[in-house]
């Protein structure tokens, strides 16, 4: 279980994370979504005691991370797959962690096997690993101590479609057996496929959170017109908030309001439908529209 209460991190006057609160229950996968620089990684580092928060607190399994006696046995953490010593072999990196946690050495081979790194790969130095292999190694490291909580930052990065599918199954299975997963991503499709709950962050603030199904049903209305610019002007004039989606404009209003606004301006629509069917991407774009997407400056 993970509880985050009013976490805030400022770098100078710039708030990278601003009053973020959410929690993750056992048996669920929580998708932590946001554009680059939204504050996902900073939040995760604060949960794991690697960055000191300016304000607020976070607990894992009921205690602040730094007070866990042997955190690797409670929480599996993968924050950056490339944060491995390039000169160590994959097996050696895991052996060091296993010994630190006081685990049986056989766990190393078992977890390497689990993530699909074979004996040849395990003996190679991490320098020679592809990003996908590093992700698998990082996942093996996170799973090494048989934790009950997983905190993974962009674990799908660099994995091929088959690898993403495999990981999705692994995380689903982990949660179904009572585990807690917090998974960040900007790969929206990936999170939509595996998460039960969503926490969406933009510009350091939480812009939406709740059950995936709940959030997706309130996705607004998707509208298209031959004259896109005129449509935007009409929507603006009607005071409706609109954002460009991948195949049209997503408006936070029902279809009737949007249609009326277009009719008043004399615009012929080519499409008008609930954006919910378009999925999470529309929601994501809508919610983060206007939010700063620039990289957090530190």
């Amino acid at each position: 279980m993970i509880t985050v209460e009013n976490l805030t991190k400022r770098y100078g006057p710039h708030p990278a994370v601003d009053d973020v609160s959410f929690h993750c229950e056992p048996g669920t996968v929580t998708g932590f979504l946001g554009p680059n620089g939204a504050g996902k990684s900073t939040t995760m580092r604060m949960i794991c005691g690697l960055t000191a928060p300016t304000a607020g607190r976070a607990t894992v399994a009921g205690r602040p991370y730094r007070e866990l006696p042997n955190p690797g046995r409670e929480v599996g953490v993968l924050l950056d797959a490339s944060a491995q010593h390039a000169g160590r072999t994959g097996r050696e990196a895991l052996t060091l962690s296993a010994y630190t946690m006081g685990l049986d050495r056989r766990e190393v081979a078992a977890k390497l096997d689990l993530v699909g790194l074979n004996a040849v790969a395990a003996k190679r130095r991490v320098r020679a690993y592809s990003l996908g292999m590093r992700q698998r190694l990082g996942l093996a490291q996170a799973l090494l101590g048989d934790p009950r909580v997983l905190i993974l930052d962009e674990p799908a990065n660099g994995l091929d479609p088959e690898g993403i599918f495999w990981m999705r199954g692994l995380l689903r299975d982990f949660a179904d057996r009572g585990g807690t997963v917090l998974l960040s991503s900007h790969l929206l499709r990936e999170v939509e496929a595996v998460a039960d709950r969503l926490v969406v962050i933009g510009g350091g603030r939480i812009v939406a959170q709740g059950d995936k199904s709940e959030l997706l049903s309130g996705g607004g209305t998707l509208v298209r017109a031959r004259d896109g610019a005129a449509l935007r002007r009409a929507l603006d004039a009607a005071g409706l908030s609109a954002a460009d989606g991948s195949d049209g404009v997503v408006v936070q209003a029902d279809a009737e309001t949007v249609g009326q606004a277009a009719a008043d301006a004399g615009i012929a629509l080519t499409e008008l439908r609930p954006a919910g069917s378009g999925g999470l991407e529309q929601l994501f774009l809508t919610l983060t529209a206007g939010e700063s997407t620039k990289e957090a400056v530190r």
Partner: protein
């Protein structure tokens, strides 16, 4: 850990296990010792230290006068080059966590960063002790060869010299570690460590008003008596203590604070 009934292949289940104990300092020290040798760079640094000691003895065998080919004369000169390389080991042990970004894993597994730092200091101090042992072994080999080839081959060594050697090597590795802790960047720490005391030494020679303080602050001068087996005076120990306070204790303390506070990313 409890055993689970054979899970399906590829399944990961969160297991309930006995409350986990925090890793002991001994365990962490063993991990840090292992990190010193499990990369090619670390292994070669240790091999180089051994080779340098052996090379010094070989040169002595070839060029030193027969009468001077004694155990002590093989042992003492090997201390200096080894003492230059040991701090590099101390620096790399601390800074590679940041340059290779393994700090992310290390401090996620052991959030008490002070314990990791203490384990690292333990590991490099043990390595310094091992280096004295290595110097003794190659000196012994040199002495054996010398007695076979007409050298003096005298074995006598003063216990005090051994103590001096241990102090010398342990403090130099700690000075390196202190610079590493303070600067947290390998090239910066190595250059800083090698350059600053030298610069200070040169200044101490050139600038007359600095000559007095240099006698207390320049480690190459304060530590010099340690290369012999004469009993050091209280003032000589005092000079060593003052120079170590400046070059070892202060950077260690400041570096520890910096490491504890630094954001790991």
């Amino acid at each position: 850990m409890t055993t689970t009934t054979a899970p399906a292949a590829g399944a990961v289940a969160p297991r309930q296990h006995a409350p986990a104990h925090r890793p002991s300092l001994l365990r962490l020290t063993v991990v840090e010792l292992r990190k010193l040798v499990d990369t090619r760079a670390g292994r070669w640094l240790l091999i180089t230290i051994g080779l340098v000691a052996a090379a010094i003895v070989t040169l002595q065998l070839i060029y030193a006068k027969d009468a001077e080919q004694t155990f002590v004369n093989f042992f003492t000169p090997s201390l200096l080059p080894v003492g230059v390389l040991l701090p590099v080991l101390g620096i790399l042990s601390i800074t590679s966590e940041w340059s290779q970004r393994t700090a992310l894993t290390t401090y996620a597994l052991v959030p008490r960063r002070d314990r990791v730092v203490i384990a690292k200091l333990n590991a490099v101090m043990l390595t310094a002790l091992a280096s004295v042992l290595a110097s003794l072994v190659v000196a012994a080999a040199g002495t054996l060869v010398a007695s076979a080839t007409g050298g003096a081959g005298t074995w006598r060594i003063d216990a005090l010299l051994l103590l001096h050697a241990v102090v010398l090597q342990v403090t130099s590795v700690l000075m390196g570690a202190a610079f590493g802790l303070l600067l947290l960047n390998p090239p910066l720490a190595i250059v800083g460590y090698l350059l600053l005391p030298t610069l200070w030494g040169v200044l101490g020679e050139m600038v007359r008003p600095l000559r007095g303080p240099a006698g207390w602050l320049d480690t190459s001068r304060t530590m010099e008596p340690l290369f012999a087996s004469d009993v050091l005076t209280g003032e000589q120990w005092g000079r060593i203590a003052v120079s170590l306070l400046v070059w070892m204790v202060l950077p260690l303390a400041a570096g520890l604070i910096r490491t504890l506070r630094r954001e790991v990313s």
